[in-house]
């Protein structure tokens, strides 16, 4: 059973782990697909881009999956965006307004909201070895294969589960009746619910990038599919092919790197991407500190994932014009509100008031990499100021930096600990062992111990932290220290719904970490989701944000800015929607 969840992503706990920002914006799309170079490393458009050269990308993390039908990580999207063309996409400088990409124009949604029609450009060709014009059936196949067990796409049910005839469980390939292709350039989605507006926004997902069925089906017959290793490009770049035959693999070396070269069949007149560099060499498995130094002092290199704090510091002091910061999402410390002792709201408030958010901020590298948070909607999302802006809703336990001693005393007393010291059984705290998350966790541990808590402190790999503990309510954690959210598009529902709506609590892969299940909040969230007017919508979500903050179910403490660094001579352009470099706009000297 697929839940129609909005696509929301986790903040990577360590250097760009699972995270990405994507999907559609709320507004109507402009009809613009002309080539432009409006991107910039910060906000100003750089001048003097040069064609040619090789861009080197250094990251620590590997990609989750190179198949466009399964890719999910931020860093996978970073290069995938240059190699495949989904129906819609974002220009680098605007993360709120999607533009037609493979599509010829913005999708049209029928008045009843149950039919979405997209026209695609007639003159886009697949890269080698397919070399033919892309038709609407290629998009249809790309989405259909996402429902198969060979290509188990995690998010597909959330977006395309409403299409008529869409399978509810992954099985073998079968055509989906609700995706129709009346002619070679038209694709029509028939839906079972009037949520065409949402589906139209989901067309930015790489799952809508065309896949040639006649070429891919022999790879898709394997479980899991090996199409990723033979993938065919539509964007300005393609993963280098190792050989010329139709069965040639692409140059992806797991744990080591990937190489992208120009796609000979890409026609610049069909794309807004300028595509300056000739080649992109991405190397994986680099030590973050060493890679950071090599990028800053070397040439033609950029970071593929977030550099560590010492590198950020060095760059900010000595290489000011080689670093940029792009806002991401919010981080918080989640209490388990279902079991003692943090089912006691006053105890939660006391711990919250005692938390030194300035210290936590320093563990990630100080104010330069993000602001102290006071609630959940991040500054880039509408509803932020309605919830209180930077200062926050103004609850006495929800500090804007240093702890509030008076509030600590008050709430400890209310919680039944008049001497200010907690007495009770050991609490179970789960943290990520990756740097800097482990520092944050230890700083917070200090706060807890100061209040008299006896803590069973468990630091584990981020993957273990989620799959074994924080995403599993049955693990009976009391506190998950290193969790956070990225808005998937600038709408507050993406920050608040899955994370605080009690209806979304599930036994595995749960993301409502506080296990908050307040009927009033649940129904307010459902109602706010139906509000159309942007201002009213923002106000509604702002109010809910205040309500959630008042429950002290979690301690919001950080609004991240992702640092990206580049070598001197690289004209880096950040894709704001992904908070990472846009390879099609970045150029090297």
């Amino acid at each position: 059973m697929y839940k129609p969840l909005r696509r929301i992503l986790l903040l990577g706990v360590f250097a760009a782990a699972a995270m990405l920002v994507l999907a559609a914006c709320g507004g109507k799309s402009k009809k613009s697909s002309t080539a432009s170079s409006s991107g910039s490393a910060t906000t100003a458009a750089p001048s003097g881009q040069q064609k040619g050269g090789t861009l080197k990308v250094l990251s620590n993390e590997d990609f989750d999956n190179i198949d466009p039908g399964q890719a999910y990580f931020q860093l996978t999207y970073e290069w995938l965006n240059a190699a495949v063309r989904p129906l819609m996409s974002f220009k680098p400088d605007n993360a709120t307004q999607e533009v037609p990409d493979l599509a010829a124009a913005a999708p049209t949604v029928a008045p009843d909201g149950k039919t979405v029609t997209v026209k695609i450009k007639p003159n886009i060709k697949f890269g080698p070895p397919v070399n033919r014009v892309v038709t609407s059936t290629d998009v249809k196949y790309a989405i259909e294969r996402g429902f198969t067990k060979q290509v188990p796409t995690g998010y597909i049910g959330a977006y395309f589960g409403v299409v008529e005839g869409a399978p509810t469980t992954p099985g073998n390939y079968k055509p989906i009746s609700g995706i129709q292709t009346p002619d070679k350039t038209t694709i029509v989605f028939k839906l079972t619910k009037p949520t065409g507006g949402q589906l139209a926004q989901a067309l930015v997902l790489p799952i809508t990038a065309p896949v040639p069925k006649e070429f891919a089906q022999k790879y898709d017959a394997k479980t899991p599919s090996t199409y990723g290793l033979h993938q065919v490009a539509t964007g300005p770049y393609m993963v280098k092919r190792l050989g010329t035959g139709p069965d040639a693999k692409v140059d992806y070396r797991p744990g080591k790197g990937i190489t992208l070269v120009r796609n000979p069949n890409w026609d610049p007149s069909t794309d807004y991407r300028p595509a300056y560099v000739d080649q992109i060499d991405w190397s994986i498995g680099n030590d973050p500190a060493v890679a950071g130094n090599q990028i800053l002092t070397g040439s033609s290199s950029i970071s593929g994932d977030s550099p560590p704090a010492p590198i950020v510091k060095k760059a900010a002091q000595q290489f000011k014009d080689q670093i940029s910061f792009t806002p991401l999402g919010s981080r918080y410390i989640a209490f388990n509100t279902k079991i003692p002792p943090f089912n006691n709201i006053n105890l939660r408030k006391a711990v919250s008031a005692a938390t030194d958010k300035t210290q936590l901020q320093l563990t990630r590298g100080g104010p330069i990499v993000g602001d102290v948070a006071t609630h959940y909607i991040p500054p880039t999302v509408a509803g932020f100021s309605d919830a209180g802006g930077m200062a926050g809703p103004g609850d006495d336990f929800d500090t804007n930096g240093a702890p509030n001693q008076a509030a600590v005393t008050k709430y400890m007393k209310l919680a039944g600990f008049p001497n200010g010291k907690y007495k009770g059984p050991k609490i179970f705290l789960v943290a990520s062992s990756a740097d800097p998350a482990i520092k944050t966790a230890q700083a917070f541990l200090n706060t807890l111990q100061g209040l008299g808590f006896n803590v069973n402190f468990k630091s584990v790999e981020a993957s273990t932290m989620y799959t074994q503990f924080c995403n599993r309510p049955s693990s009976n954690y009391n506190i998950c220290t290193n969790v956070g959210w990225l808005p998937d598009f600038p709408d507050a529902s993406t920050v608040l719904d899955v994370t605080f709506n009690g209806e979304h609590i599930v036994p595995a892969n749960n993301s409502n970490w506080p296990l908050l299940n307040d009927p009033a909040i649940n129904s307010a969230l459902d109602k706010a989701n139906q509000v159309i007017d942007p201002a009213a919508r923002a106000a509604a979500y702002g109010a809910i944000d205040k309500t959630i903050t008042a429950t002290a179910a979690a301690i919001p403490w950080f609004w991240d800015k992702q640092a990206n660094i580049e070598s001197k001579g690289v004209k880096g352009v950040i894709a704001k929607w992904n908070a990472s470099y846009d390879f099609s706009f970045t150029s090297v000297k």
Partner: protein
Amino acid sequence: MSVGAADILHETERTGDGGIDSAVVIAARSPMQLFWRRLREDKVALVGLAFIVVLIVIALFAPLIAKAFGVSPYKQSTKVLDQFGSPTGPSSAHIMGVDPLGRDVFARVLYGARVSLEVAIVATAISVSIGVVVGMVAAFYRGWVDTIISRLIDILLAFPILLLALGLASACSLGNGCLKTNGVGRDILYVGLAILALAVVWLGRKASKVKLSGLDRSTLAGPLITAAVVIAIGLFMWQVPGQTSTLIKPGVGVVIFVIAFVNWTYIGRIIRGQVLSLREKEFVEASRSLGASNARIIFREILPNLIAPIIVYSTLVIPTNILFEAALSFLGVGVQPPQASWGQMIADATSIFDTAWWFMVFPGVALVLTVLAFNLLGDGLQDALNPRSRR
């Protein structure tokens, strides 16, 4: 594996197979006084011994020493960090600087000595105990017992030990520890029974045709011992009910268990070799011909002659175990923070070692000096026992 001092063991590791005899310790026929006299003359070993004594005192009184200097290993401070959260270097208040949480490095190095010594000594004691018992049993009873034990040791030695340790440590650091569910126990039991069945079928077919040769015996020992071990684990885990009861708790306990588990084999082999040669000696023969019981021979004749080599090898294994603990902590599966461990401090320092040298240097120097001291003492003890290899 590239754990430097694991190599110390190589010279002993190679004494077992193929008749290679580079054993450094041959026998301990000399009386204890002679041994002590020789050791007392070895000034370098005494320096090592003195350092170890001082270190043990420091570890025992770490809280008092830290207090005397007005520092604490757990007290965090943002005042000693800059606006980027970077730590500051040595100063009068913090003689070894602070770490990225603003904790005093000196105090953490002091407390790190506790973890290193605790893990090394306890793990060494456990592995030496297992090794001595198993080695003695194998050599004394010989025959099938010896074959089975020796083959088990072979299997464990064939493992890439750091990988084995990493796997065990990360598995046991989950939840409340490891060895917990009985469903898993059932699966393991099936595996064990299957191996046993295969081995028995093969044995039966062989036995019906020809008499078992030495070749078949040693090849069969592998599956049989594996089956026995697997069945024992399966039965054990079958018997441990519920989700909460576990055998090995996370933290220092896991590290000790892991190190003891992968290290006893070396000692086992050495003791086996020693006992094999001792049991052929005239005084044992004499005792046997006088009608002494096995127990008497083991405890009164053989064991006293093993004490000296056991001491020497323990001293040589301790530094290896210190490095092992540090390596596990360096790789993130050792001691849990905020407890201080030298290996973990070095691991934390890797991301900032070019800007905060003090955070890398001081724990590392402490580690090297400690290991060096044990190595010096071990060398001295070895020489005192075996003057022939005297340097």
